[in-house]
């Protein structure tokens, strides 16, 4: 039984709709892109929650909502019990110290005209009470050291570093204010395979040393499995299945999760022809016009007329020991163990 006070981050029915407007001078609303459509998340202290999904599922928007880069259309984002979605001004600024984000693209996430020292030190300038002026230079150097970079390179510019190193700089910046929660939005997707390992190992080490909690958003299911304790699967703005990594990867119950897992190639040729192979029909529906009832029904091999009229809730079910949003949820191991 999880201790509620152990929850560092929680979202309740989080919704974000982007209005589609028409007209040049006077814009009228012609519909909405329902990027995030009712998401409930829980993150406990010290754990890593992985969020997977394909393009268009809303995970990037979700990331922005968590760090208040976008304001939700409705719903709550509770960081250590405080709803940051409601905050503004000074109180928002203070709340930002608890949750930070590492961005995806190391080539655009650092201001090319600022030195690395300035980039990492900027949080201290915005929050002068975090570190006294006298100690800032040393704090920046310590952060560089913490992420495995040479503290003497404080005066260099981003373009003098490689992709993996730039990502480390981004991590150092995220850590400056000593947040307890870090949202990682595809932090290794833009990196070479061998560099990915460096950054993943770094993130794990930091989690251990600093007691951090991570939300790890990615499309690479192997990476997510490696680093996450619990995993949530997103489709068209909703979470369709969530649970501990073992449950999701070895005992998936939602058809989409099963299809997703069956599609991921595993670097082991001996498994050729042994794995369950599920091919989905058709394309992902547009988030501006999702199907009624269960959103996945247009591509699901189990779909029944019932699915069109009744939207399945994310909950524990008779055949699913962990929460799953399918009326016909059932365990099916798609990754055969060898």
């Amino acid at each position: 039984m999880s201790d509620v006070s152990d929850l560092v981050l929680e979202t309740r029915n989080l919704v974000k709709h982007f209005p589609i407007t028409q007209g040049i001078v006077f814009k009228t609303k012609a519909g909405a892109v329902r990027a995030v459509d009712g998401v409930d998340l829980q993150l406990r202290r010290g754990e890593t929650l992985g969020i997977v999904g394909e393009s268009g599922c809303g995970k990037s928007t979700l990331a922005k909502l968590l760090v208040n880069l976008e304001k939700p259309t409705s719903g709550e984002v509770l960081v250590r019990g405080e709803n940051i979605a409601r905050l503004s001004g000074q109180s928002l600024r203070r709340a930002r110290r608890n949750i930070q984000m590492v961005l995806q693209d190391p080539y655009t996430s650092l201001n090319p005209r600022m030195t690395v020292g300035d980039i990492i030190g900027e949080p201290f300038e915005i929050h002068p009470d975090a570190v006294p002026r006298a100690g800032r230079a040393r704090a920046v150097q310590e952060l560089l050291d913490l992420v495995g970079l040479n503290p003497d390179h404080v005066n260099r510019y981003p373009h003098q570093f490689s992709g993996g190193q730039r990502q480390r700089i981004g991590i150092a910046r995220a850590l400056a204010l000593r947040p307890k929660i870090i949202v990682c939005d595809e932090p290794v997707s833009a990196l070479d395979v061998s560099i990915q390992a460096q950054v993943i190992n770094l993130l794990e080490r930091l989690q251990g040393e600093l007691g951090l909690s991570y939300i790890f958003i990615a499309h690479d299911l192997s990476v997510v499995r490696h680093i996450s304790d619990r995993v949530a699967v997103m489709y068209l703005g909703k979470i369709v299945e969530s649970g501990y990594h073992m449950a999701i990867y070895e005992q998936p119950t939602h058809p989409y999760t099963q299809a997703l897992l069956s599609a991921v190639p595993v670097p082991d040729p001996r498994l050729r022809g042994r794995r369950d192979h599920i091919e989905l029909e058709g394309d992902v529906p547009s988030p501006a016009d999702p199907p009624s009832g269960c959103r996945f029904r247009t591509r699901c091999w189990k779909a029944q007329p019932y699915c069109a009229d009744h939207e399945p809730l994310l909950q524990i079910r008779q055949r699913s020991p962990h929460p799953s949003a399918c009326h016909y949820a059932e365990i099916r191991d798609v990754i055969h163990r060898y």
Partner: protein, 345 residues
């Protein structure tokens, strides 16, 4: 159709062409890029071979030279700044590098075709895909507009684009990423090439779409007994489809082996390190291996074995001498001075 037999006859008449020779054989290819900051050796003596019906994977990380190699084989490198400075690209015994541009163009598309990572930029956005497809048939086969359009619809059917007849007049941006990739495959296969080079065909796609496309490629290859060269950095995709793998590093092929051997017992430190550094879907709780250092700048490749600054097995000789390609078994080669140690023998 006179158009077809003409071109086929012309290609078959190329001097040196031997239908019994291997489909594709690249030997000691050298490509350099002459830039302001110096000469970058993008490809440093790469070599591989391909037989009909085989799938060869060119595996490596960014900057290893795999794409440049493929472009050199196709003859589509931008010269300048790229210059092919050595080696041979033998298509059935004919060295493509020594052909005239006109002959080269005939071989391209008719015998060797290529598909790329980003279908959106490979397709012209202002023409419908039907028009672009039909144009291939009109130009290269001399077909009438009506016949070309019919063939275009057939091609789309072959790559499983649903409702091909209705969608023939749609524009590239009206298709999803996966569909566009299918269109690009249709265009590449329109003239029935013998070799298809796929340069990171699924890297930009979602994993479910990726699986569909890879399956389609395997099917088409099987139907046509085509040779397929798959260029990628994804070791999972390779394990699923490849027969043989050539691992590239700093412009050289450092290991070549059948797919089962390479995953089970890699014979080169780089391959070994790479395999140990990727997270696995079906495993949890490993410490990921890290290859220390960075890939070398191509203007400044280390002496001797290019991998030695990052190699756990490196000794003095690795800095001084480039390792030759040792043959460990039929179809298995590795460029390392200490293969025995790597294999744990």
């Amino acid at each position: 159709m006179t158009g077809v037999t003409d071109i086929k006859a012309q290609i078959d008449a190329l001097p040196g062409l031997d239908p019994r020779a291997p489909l594709l054989h690249v030997e000691d290819l050298q490509v350099e890029f002459r830039t302001r900051d110096g000469v970058a050796k993008a490809v440093n003596g790469a070599g591989f071979h391909l037989a009909a019906g085989e799938t060869l994977a060119l595996l490596g990380e960014s900057g290893c030279g795999k794409s440049v190699t493929a472009q050199a084989v196709m003859g589509i490198l931008d010269t300048p700044p790229a210059h092919v400075t050595g080696g041979r690209v033998l298509y059935r015994g004919v060295d493509l590098l020594r052909l005239s541009e006109e002959d080269r163009r005939k071989v391209r598309a008719n015998r060797i075709a290529m598909i790329f990572q980003d279908a959106l930029s490979a397709l012209n956005p202002v023409y419908s895909i039907g028009f672009q497809l039909a144009e291939v048939f009109r130009k290269h086969r001399g077909m009438s507009r009506k016949d070309a359009k019919r063939r275009a619809i057939e091609s789309l059917d072959q790559v499983r684009v649903p409702a091909a007849r209705q969608r023939i007049d749609d524009y590239p941006h009206q298709f999803s990423g996966g569909m566009r990739q299918r269109v690009m495959i249709a265009m590449a296969l329109a003239l029935d090439p013998e070799v298809l080079i796929a340069d990171e065909p699924t890297t930009a796609l979602d994993v479910t779409v990726q699986a569909q496309i890879m399956r389609l490629l395997a099917e088409l290859q099987h139907q046509r007994n085509m040779g397929l060269i798959l260029i990628t950095h994804d070791m999972g995709v390779v394990a699923d489809v490849a027969d043989r793998i050539s691992v590239m590093y700093a412009g050289k092929v450092v290991e070549e082996a059948p797919v089962y051997d390479i995953y089970e017992r890699p014979a080169h430190p780089y391959t070994q390190a790479l395999l140990a550094s990727i997270p696995r879907l079906d495993l949890k709780g490993r410490q990921l291996n890290v290859i220390r250092g960075l890939p070398p700048a191509l203007t400044d490749i280390p002496s001797g074995c290019a991998f030695h600054p990052r190699c756990g097995y490196a000794r003095e000789i690795c800095r001084q001498e480039q390792p030759p390609a040792y043959r460990i078994a039929p179809h298995r080669e590795s460029r390392c001075h200490f293969i025995r140690e790597v294999l744990g023998v």
